[in-house]
């Protein structure tokens, strides 16, 4: 980049009314002022501005840290697959019970009826719940974005078909279709379940993206791109979708927390994750009878679900505020 110097060919008089247009040049705050603003000389991209606002959102930042800790602990403690973790006990083995299995230093989350270490079990369930949630989030985002973008950009018969398909998916009760398909798909393992859930939960995102694309495709820069001869694929991927990324990311985040709850409900009803795999919903379902006598068997997975869903929602809120700060910075 050495050839792009900060040289200014016209000197200060390239815009002779520097003083008059100085406000315009800063163009940041409502009302405007020529007072030098901090960071004025630094070049912020839209992404950097969003990140800056996100990291100032305290609840979102805290949630991000908490979720990060949960993810790290869930995956390192009992290990993934054949890789062992740092937690000494195995979720498959039954240990001697201490008392009635209430939490102790030895077994911080207590033990279940058979003497299994409940901490290891909950971590195993958390792993599966997280994998399903993120896989569902990613799949539904990809499908929803694709369908929404195609429908919004091309309009016409393609839009009619895609949106009617979306309507059909919306009117089918989510829990019923997920239960029916989920039962079959569970035999392919948890990713099969994630795939099925992802393929039935993309509808709201598709509608949001379509709406966003509908308004973006009328913007002048899209017209300018068309006038220059840009192909539709390049317009969608380079000019339209990057500008809809706020909507997409926020919606994807919220769909992750919805997926956690959906998976929990399904597993609780017995249609979700099947033994020998386990998830937080399965754990609650398995030990629901023990709620009165051994409440920790309910509270730990319940608390986990609550914390993860809450964290993801707060992150979504933070992202939404960061992308849509309700101040029109491009106004001038």
């Amino acid at each position: 980049m050495s050839d792009i110097r900060n040289s200014n060919p016209g000197g200060e008089d390239y815009e002779p009314q520097v003083t008059a247009s100085g406000v315009d040049a800063v163009g940041l705050a409502a009302g405007g002022s020529a007072d030098p603003l901090p960071g004025e000389d630094k070049s912020y991209s839209q992404g950097q501005l969003v990140a800056r606002r996100f990291f100032r959102h305290r609840a979102a930042l805290t949630s991000m840290i908490v979720l990060g800790i949960i993810i790290v602990v869930a995956f390192t403690s009992i290990g993934v697959g054949d890789i062992p973790g740092w937690w000494p006990k195995d979720y498959r083995l039954q240990y001697d019970k201490i008392g009635d299995g209430a939490p102790t230093w030895e077994y911080p989350f207590g033990q279940d009826t058979g003497g299994k270490d409940y901490f290891a079990l909950v971590m195993r369930g958390t792993q599966f719940s997280l994998i399903i949630a993120f896989a569902v989030g990613i799949i539904s985002t990809i499908v929803g974005t694709l369908i929404g973008a195609l429908a919004g950009f091309y309009r016409g018969w393609l839009e009619s078909i895609l949106m009617r398909v979306t309507d059909v998916f919306i009117v089918i009760p989510l829990l019923v279709i997920a239960a029916v398909l989920g039962k079959t798909a569970s035999s392919w393992g948890i990713l099969g379940l994630a795939l099925v859930l992802g393929l039935v939960t993309w509808t709201s995102l598709a509608r949001l993206v379509r709406g966003e694309v509908l308004s973006l495709r009328e913007r002048d820069f899209v017209l300018a791109a068309q006038a220059v001869g840009t192909g539709p694929w390049r317009i969608i991927t380079r000019h339209v979708l990057p500008n809809a990324v706020g909507v997409i990311i926020v919606s994807a985040t919220l769909s992750i927390s919805a997926a956690i709850l959906l998976e929990t409900s399904l597993s609780f009803l017995g249609f979700g994750v099947q033994a020998p795999d386990t998830s937080l919903g399965t754990l609650i379902s398995d030990y629901q009878a023990a709620f009165a006598t051994r409440p920790w068997l309910f509270w730990w997975p319940g608390l986990m679900i609550l914390t993860i869903a809450l964290c993801v929602n707060f992150i979504g809120d933070g992202l939404r505020d960061a992308f849509d700060p309700r101040q029109n910075r491009t106004k001038d």
Partner: protein, 604 residues
């Protein structure tokens, strides 16, 4: 900074105590980038029956100043100093007091009448709402009063209009309704924030006539906020010039517009294009060199463009238009909103299809091309749009924006593209450092320069410019126009220049085409069309365009009224009957809760 007050020697234009006074007004906004001082201690007075124009470019703080008088500022604003409306001090009022003051003592006329009116309520509902809230009239009386108000502002068939919705009225009529709402409670002062900016020139002239007769007949003070020097010359008794939150100069209209003292005012006035002075103000336009046998850069033949609407008859936006742009020629396309000028521009770009007729670029027709050939043809056309805020992709840095056409047409490699971008940045007089900047970091004028650079990337033979300077401040517009003429001289592109501003067209067009309702009214060389118009419509357009010189503008105004009289049309004015009773609003101090008190009051 001290205000240069040059009004001392002038005669006082109005008497009586001020109806609106700002004393040492400061406004500070708290933003994420620290405090922004929008208004830095200004003093200003508006007296009864006087129009004070507050002039400045975007971001100078003029709208913020006016909003303080209504107590309507966002939460992050801090207001210092005193604001007096009549005998009330705005800062000392609570919520109830403020609501009582708004409408009764001070009213507002907004820029965009479509958004200032609620689209789901009828005109009648919106007019009577204010009357009822302030206890002036209720029920049938309120409806009758609303009809009277509509008649006053010159809306025909007021009773029928009361039952209509805003979308059923034209832009000018909507603005009249907004004015009727503003005078409903007979305020002492009206704040008009760019009241004519969103309107066509002929409608603007009518609305200004109406406002002028309003202050004469009702003795209302008007604080007129505008960036248009022509409007100032037409309306203002006194002028205050704002720059970055400071008042730099105040004085009578004649003093400020004809004998400005402050450098900024002088620069601002020099930047206003003068209709009738021809090219040369911002650089000369090169003569057309194309020979008669050369193919025209753009040739429209009997062009018809139609919009198909669901459940409604097809709308013919452009009807049988034939025009051509020779190589190296700038053709100005003028017309009011809805005349189809932007539609023609889009059709010339191949963005919308023609229903019949033909569009050809250097002899190649748009109609039958597909795929590669179409892409090749588009390479020869550049485009600049009006709105600098939306014409650049906010996610791409400027370097990528300008290089995009090269990438699309797979021309050159990384190095040569960058060389071309830097060359273009130099040509549009932007510093090379903007290469890595993002559009939101640039001012409107700078963004428009980027737009022009992008349009020139592929060295097009034809440039279509759709109102390229309409969204810019005058001083910025002057610089962009200056740059535009020099670029045209250098690159010799032909240009279809769409604008509603006759003065801008007068500066740079070789030929002018005047459109009305999708049809060509008149076309010919610039001097002929703009200086000796043959058609009545063109005469009207030219007569309605205000010039920034009070005496000249007065002469033009009278000439326009004479023209209207000759054509047998009314001049817009406020119709006040002799037995017009001024409403006495209920002074809501908590005591009078019957709500009918206001009706018992007498006339003025």
């Amino acid at each position: 900074m001290t205000t240069l007050d040059i009004s001392a020697s002038g005669p006082a234009t109005a008497t009586g105590d001020a109806v609106l006074a700002f004393e040492d007004l400061t406004v500070t906004f708290k933003t994420e980038f620290g405090d922004v001082h929008a208004v830095k201690g200004i003093d200003l007075e508006v007296r009864p029956g006087e129009v004070v124009a507050l002039v400045g470019e975007s971001g100078s703080g003029k709208s913020v100043t006016s909003m303080t008088a209504l107590g309507l500022l966002p939460r992050n604003a801090r207001v210092g100093g005193t604001i007096r409306v009549g005998d009330k001090e705005v800062g000392a009022l609570d919520g109830r007091g403020l609501r009582n003051m708004r409408g009764n003592d001070v009213a507002m006329v907004f820029q965009e009448p479509m958004t200032a009116l609620n689209p789901v309520l009828t005109i009648g509902d919106q007019l009577t709402e204010g009357l009822q809230l302030h206890g002036i009239a209720y029920g049938k009386q309120a409806t009758a009063r609303a009809a009277e108000l509509l008649a006053m502002v010159g809306i025909p068939e007021p009773e029928r209009r009361l039952k209509q919705y805003p979308h059923e009225l034209s832009g000018g009529q909507r603005q009249r309704v907004v004015i009727a709402m503003a005078i409903a409670c007979d305020p002492k002062v009206i704040i008009a924030d760019e009241p004519t900016t969103a309107l066509d020139v002929t409608v603007q002239a009518d609305i200004l006539d109406l406002l002028r007769s309003l202050k004469d007949k009702l003795n209302t003070g008007i604080l007129l906020i505008t960036h248009n020097m022509g409007v100032v010359a037409d309306m203002a008794d006194r002028v205050a010039v704002m720059l970055k939150g400071d008042l730099v100069e105040t004085g009578t209209a004649d003093q400020v517009l004809n004998h400005p003292r402050h450098d900024y005012t002088k620069r601002l006035l020099a930047a206003v294009p003068h209709l009738g002075s021809g090219p040369g103000q911002f650089g000369d336009v090169a003569p057309v060199e194309a020979a008669a046998e050369d193919l025209p850069a753009l040739d429209l033949n009997n062009l018809v463009i139609e919009y198909h609407r669901l459940g409604k008859p097809t709308f013919r936006a452009v009807d049988d238009v034939s025009l051509s742009v020779a190589q190296g020629e700038i053709v100005g396309l003028v017309g009011e909103s809805g005349s189809g000028k932007s539609t023609i521009a889009k059709c010339a770009l191949g963005l919308i299809p023609a229903a019949s007729g033909s569009v050809s670029i250097l002899g190649t027709g748009f109609g039958k091309l597909r795929g590669k050939e179409l892409k090749a043809l588009r390479k020869r056309i550049g485009v600049v749009f009006q709105d600098p805020a939306s014409s650049l992709n906010p996610r791409l840095p400027i370097g990528d924006v300008i290089a995009e056409p090269l990438v699309v047409h797979k021309e050159g490699d990384e190095r040569s593209r960058r060389r071309r971008v830097l060359e273009l940045l130099d040509a549009v007089e932007l510093p090379r450092s903007v290469y890595n900047r993002y559009p939101h970091e640039l001012s409107g004028g700078q963004r428009q320069r980027v737009s022009i650079a992008r349009a020139l990337t592929l060295d097009p033979e034809l440039l279509v410019a759709d109102e390229p300077t309409s969204a810019l401040d005058v001083s910025v517009q002057a610089n962009v126009l200056k740059m535009f003429t020099s670029l045209q001289e250098r690159y010799k592109f032909a240009c279809l220049f769409v604008s509603h501003d006759l003065a801008v067209i007068d500066l740079l067009a070789h030929r002018v085409v005047v459109l009305q309702n999708g049809r060509i009214v008149e076309q010919g060389p610039r001097e002929e069309v703009l200086h000796h118009p043959r058609e009545e419509y063109t005469q009207r357009l030219i007569a309605a365009a205000p010039v920034p010189e009070p005496l000249e503008q007065r002469r033009r105004r009278e000439a326009r009224h004479a023209l209207l009289n000759k054509l047998g049309e009314d001049i817009a004015e406020l119709h006040v009957d002799d037995d017009y009773e001024r409403p006495t609003p209920r002074q809501d101090e908590g005591g009078n809760s019957s709500g009918l008190g206001g009706l018992l009051g007498g006339g003025s």
